[in-house]
């Protein structure tokens, strides 16, 4: 039976007041309807996202609040949509705040081809992408790397694959951290992890990973859209994938290390996956150096796929590389050292975002210069066949959520329930009738990812806007969807 107490702060924000064992309160961005759903789920099921928000608030060194964005749903340890920022001296790093798909994220690229031409050729384009971008379980990439080269991917990220001829130098100006975080240490990554990865760089994966060709169907913020170079009917491609097997193996390897560390450093284990180590401890430092390697691997992966997308468009439309420009790339399963103002003081924090997107508002030095007056694009994947959004962060978001926003619609129904209710072939047929070409490697996967299995993405982004944490810039509608 759930014992988590929740009180309403305003129409879009709820608080779990600080009580026994909690260092800070829990804060959940939700409207009345989604909070009712969370509370019902919390009462009736084994998986309880509200309890997870509360548990995270009990970790040492946590600052301001244990946060959950509007796409909150139960995860393991952290809720999905969870954000936790920790003091770098007294805080902990926890595997639950990163997960097994390190730096899973989205790259969106603009395509300088008229929408009508894309629509006329969508079947051919879908086939070209499906052929060019490896996807699905066990697929292997076009870039085969030696063990030594894998280490270069881990330390140099997207920069290394750029040197190998994948993508354009200008891409990296619009990737978080310019596609490479410093401090990654390949010696903290197991041989198994590297061995699993050497053939998977440049693969999309399966499950909720996808590649979509989309167009701008509504503009909410004309000024920000102009700054991003987006107009009504502008065509974009969005790539959603992460660090693949390397990230999974790093998670698996450190799960055990951090369980031991939690006992050693007497960090309360409130849930089996919610384990970690002090940021300053040897175990903590090693894990962070390994996660950074995973982050770089995901940057490299999306850079390679970006190039493969260009090739597919070139094959279909005979266009030049420079007609496809990287708008932005941002992760949503991450650890980041960031500076934030807490209690009036400028502090360095380690921010965990598990299924939450960094959403830095105007003026932050991390935002690429051309976007700095409005904040960077926040890429929010919707569901297959519905819509996706590009948002921007706000000053208020910097103050309340450490500059974080949602990452997607958030699951509503389990995969099992989705498989009971939907048939993959039917979903693909229905989307086809609506003008959306779908190519999948597994039709069961299409049923699991059915639009009805997710929360309404419109509602999710509206909650964040209502709370003043992020603002909608444009809505995107899909034309082609390729899934693993």
């Amino acid at each position: 039976m759930n014992t988590v107490k929740v009180r309403k702060v305003h129409d879009y924000l709820w608080e779990i007041p600080r009580e026994n064992g909690m260092h800070v309160p829990g804060r959940i961005y939700a409207d009345e309807r989604s909070m009712q759903h969370l509370m019902a789920e919390s009462r009736s099921k084994e998986w309880d996202a509200l309890l997870q928000v509360r548990n995270v608030a009990c970790l040492p060194g946590i600052q301001r609040a244990s946060l959950a964005m509007a796409d909150i749903h139960p995860g393991y340890g952290f809720p999905i949509g969870g954000v936790g920022a920790f003091d770098v001296e007294t805080g902990v790093v926890t595997i639950a705040g990163v997960g097994f798909d390190i730096n899973c994220g989205v790259r969106t690229m603009t395509v300088d081809i008229p929408l009508a031409e894309i629509k006329r050729n969508r079947e051919r384009l879908a086939d070209a992408i499906f052929r060019t971008v490896p996807a699905g379980l066990g697929s292997t990439g076009s870039l085969k790397l030696s063990r030594k080269e894998i280490d270069k991917v881990l330390t140099s990220g997207a920069r290394y694959v750029l040197e190998r001829g994948y993508g354009l130098a200008a891409d990296l100006d619009f990737v978080e951290e310019n596609g490479c975080v410093p401090g990654a240490d390949p010696s903290c990554v197991s041989e198994h992890a590297k061995e699993r990865q050497f053939k998977q760089v440049g693969t999309l994966g399966s499950g909720n990973h996808y590649l979509e060709v989309q167009y701008v169907d509504t503009i909410f913020d004309q000024h920000a859209a102009r700054v991003f170079g987006l107009m009504e009917n502008s065509v974009v491609v969005s790539i959603h994938t992460g660090s693949r097997a390397l990230g999974h193996q790093i998670g698996t390897d450190y799960q055990k290390v951090l369980r031991r560390a939690s006992e050693k450093y007497r960090i309360p284990i409130l849930e089996a996956e919610l384990v970690g180590a002090p940021i300053t401890s040897p175990e903590g430092k090693q894990y962070i150096a390994a996660v950074k390697a995973g982050i770089n691997c995901a940057f490299a992966n999306r850079q390679v796929i970006g190039e493969l997308v260009r090739r597919a468009f070139k094959e279909t439309f005979g266009i030049d590389d420079t007609m496809i420009r990287t708008l932005y790339e941002v992760g949503h399963n991450n650890l980041k050292f960031e500076r934030h103002t807490v209690d009036g003081k400028d502090r360095e924090l380690l921010v965990h975002r598990k299924g939450a997107t960094r959403a830095f508002g105007p003026g932050r030095p991390e935002v690429p210069e051309p976007y700095r007056s409005v904040g960077h694009p926040v890429l929010v994947g919707g569901t297959m066949g519905t819509s996706s959004f590009i948002l921007v962060g706000t000053e208020r978001g910097m103050e309340e959520t450490f500059g974080s926003a949602v990452h997607g619609a958030g699951r509503l129904k389990s995969r099992k329930q989705a498989m009971r209710e939907y048939r993959g072939e039917r979903i693909i047929g229905d989307l086809g009738s609506a003008g959306i070409v779908v190519r999948v490697h597994s039709t069961r996967g299409a049923a699991e990812e059915a639009p009805g299995a997710y929360k309404d993405v419109e509602q999710v982004v509206s909650i964040m806007e209502g709370a003043g944490v992020s603002r909608r810039v444009v809505r995107l509608k899909p034309i082609v969807c390729v899934k693993g």
């Binding site: 393991y76 399966s206 799960q255 389990s414």
Partner: protein, 145 residues
């Protein structure tokens, strides 16, 4: 409840798996099968490749999660789709729990049309190894998809 078997348990984002049987080894074998079934359609797939695995943990739950993760790693490293597993030994040895098993599978290329979802990892979330009401052992945990 049948003598031995397996199923999956609803979890909003990921998937719970559960195996049961007369002893812990049977429960582990069934839990592994539940995980293999998430990755591929296994019915009628000839399993003619064999791999040996061994692992250890401080308690039965850790052994379960380690075991499942070892299987995921090996399948990926050797480009196999695992079909079933047979545990040869499982028990407490000094301070730790250990097991040794043989896993049967097929090359991935032969299973190409059968592949489903990639299982990223087995987690400790909801992990338990216990005797159920019917006197059977049950092993369960959540896997990240």
């Amino acid at each position: 409840m049948r003598e031995r078997g397996h199923d999956t348990i609803d979890h909003t984002a990921d998937m719970g798996i559960r195996g049961w049987g007369a002893g812990i080894p049977e429960a582990f074998e069934e839990a592994a099968r539940a995980m293999f079934e998430l990755a591929a359609e296994l019915d009628g797939l000839a399993a003619d490749r064999e791999v040996s695995v061994s692992c250890e943990g401080t308690d039965a739950e850790e052994l379960l999660v380690e075991f499942l993760n070892t299987l995921l790693t090996r399948a990926d490293l050797e480009d196999l789709v695992f079909v079933r597993v047979s545990i040869d030994r499982l028990g407490k040895d000094g301070g730790s729990w250990r097991l040794g098993a043989r896993v049967m599978g097929a090359p991935r290329e032969r299973a190409a049309g059968r592949l489903l979802t990639e299982v990223k990892a087995a987690t400790y979330y909801g992990a338990s190894v216990r005797m159920s009401g019917e006197g059977l052992w049950e092993a369960r945990c959540v896997v990240d998809l």
